[in-house]
């Protein structure tokens, strides 16, 4: 975090005309938004373009943020709609669960998702690649819970689900992620366990 101010304090400053203060919010949430867009849009280049668009949209609608929910929750809704609109425009496929081609795609040279060799071998790279093999719904819940550290209640608000349903979906997503890791990255998993 680049400044000690809370999200709401930064937003108040931006609304008061201090446009540069918005850079703090961008720095704070760029990885979050980029990770979420990358879950849906597999090309890094496109995902980054959409992530930038998300921040521009959020800036222009900042006066509509009432502070009733967390800024990240509000940002999530913009991220989701912007990504879906982009995919509809580009007619790109969202990858479905258990589609083995996804693994090949993630591994192919043309895929923007290809990580560098060192990262591929690392545990972090493995988890990231395994998450990319999940369905968008599973990847989304894992990302929100583990990477963005949202509470179950907050995830429920974001996804429009009951807290208990979130709990069950998270449990299932983790089980599927574990299966993916064991299936596709068995060697790395052996080294870790």
């Amino acid at each position: 975090m680049s400044s000690g101010l809370s999200d709401n304090e930064i937003i108040s400053r931006v609304l008061a005309g201090e446009q540069n203060a918005y850079a703090d919010l961008v720095n704070r949430y760029q990885n979050y938004v980029f990770t979420l867009t990358l879950r849906l849009i597999k090309s890094r280049e496109d995902a980054e373009e959409v992530a930038q668009d998300v921040f521009v949209k959020a800036y222009r609608s900042l006066a509509d943020f009432r502070g009733e929910s967390k800024f990240s929750t509000w940002l999530y809704t913009i991220t989701n709609t912007t990504s879906i609109t982009f995919l509809r425009k580009k007619k790109l496929e969202t990858h479905s669960l258990d589609n083995e081609k996804v693994f090949e795609l993630a591994d192919s040279k043309d895929s923007g998702f290809r990580a560098n060799t060192i990262e591929q071998k690392s545990r972090i790279g493995m988890v990231t690649r395994a998450i990319a093999l999940l369905s968008p719904d599973d990847a989304e819940i894992i990302t929100l819970f583990y990477k963005v550290e949202q509470s179950l209640d907050e995830i429920g608000k974001i996804l429009g689900l009951e807290t208990n349903t979130v709990k069950v979906r998270l449990h299932r997503a983790r089980t599927r992620l574990k299966e993916k890791m064991e299936k596709h990255f068995s060697e790395e998993v052996k080294n870790i366990y």
Partner: protein, 169 residues
């Protein structure tokens, strides 16, 4: 739900810290005495820590700069609630409710409640004089108000759009 799934679900809740006090102590006892639970717990805990260790994706170094360059062209749009006049919405709503109620009253007024028999409709549709409804001065006034409200709304939309274009230019 099979036994394995049940164990996993209980253990995930325990790892996440969502278990109740009673559940926690029951699981802790099982972890001490039951090898299957203990092995599963370590397996899930490893997976949990592994997922947790994964970091968020990072965009390019220029990301913030690109965003700031883009937003420099724009101004923050006024909050939706400031340009949506609630009075207009309420008056449109009131108009339509009045119309519906008016038609309902008129319709019920046409019903002959003394007609018996299940097969016949209580309203003889052929006897309703539609020309009376549409040549009625009250209905004409309602229609006029409706058209006026529509024009006011259209004017506001176009004015807002014009303002937005001017701001962007």
């Amino acid at each position: 739900m099979n036994q394995q799934q049940h164990i996993e679900e209980q253990l995930w809740s325990y790892i996440d810290g969502f278990s109740s006090e009673e559940e926690r102590s029951a699981i802790e006892k099982l972890l001490q005495n039951n090898v299957e639970w203990k092995n599963k717990y370590h397996e899930l805990l490893d997976a949990h820590q592994l997922i947790k260790s994964a970091e968020l994706e990072q965009p390019s170094m220029r990301f913030t700069k690109n965003v700031m360059e883009q937003i420099a062209k724009y101004q923050i749009a006024p909050a939706t609630k400031t340009y949506i006049n609630k009075k207009i919405i309420w008056s449109i709503g009131a108009f339509f409710i009045t119309m519906i109620v008016g038609f309902l009253i008129y319709g019920f007024g046409q019903i002959n409640w003394n007609v018996s028999g299940d097969t016949k409709l209580p309203v003889d549709l052929s006897k309703i004089d539609y020309s009376k409804i549409f040549k009625n001065s009250y209905v004409n006034i309602f229609m006029m108000i409706n058209v006026l409200l529509g024009l006011v709304l259209l004017d506001r939309v176009l004015a807002n759009r014009r303002k937005r274009f001017q701001r962007q230019a």
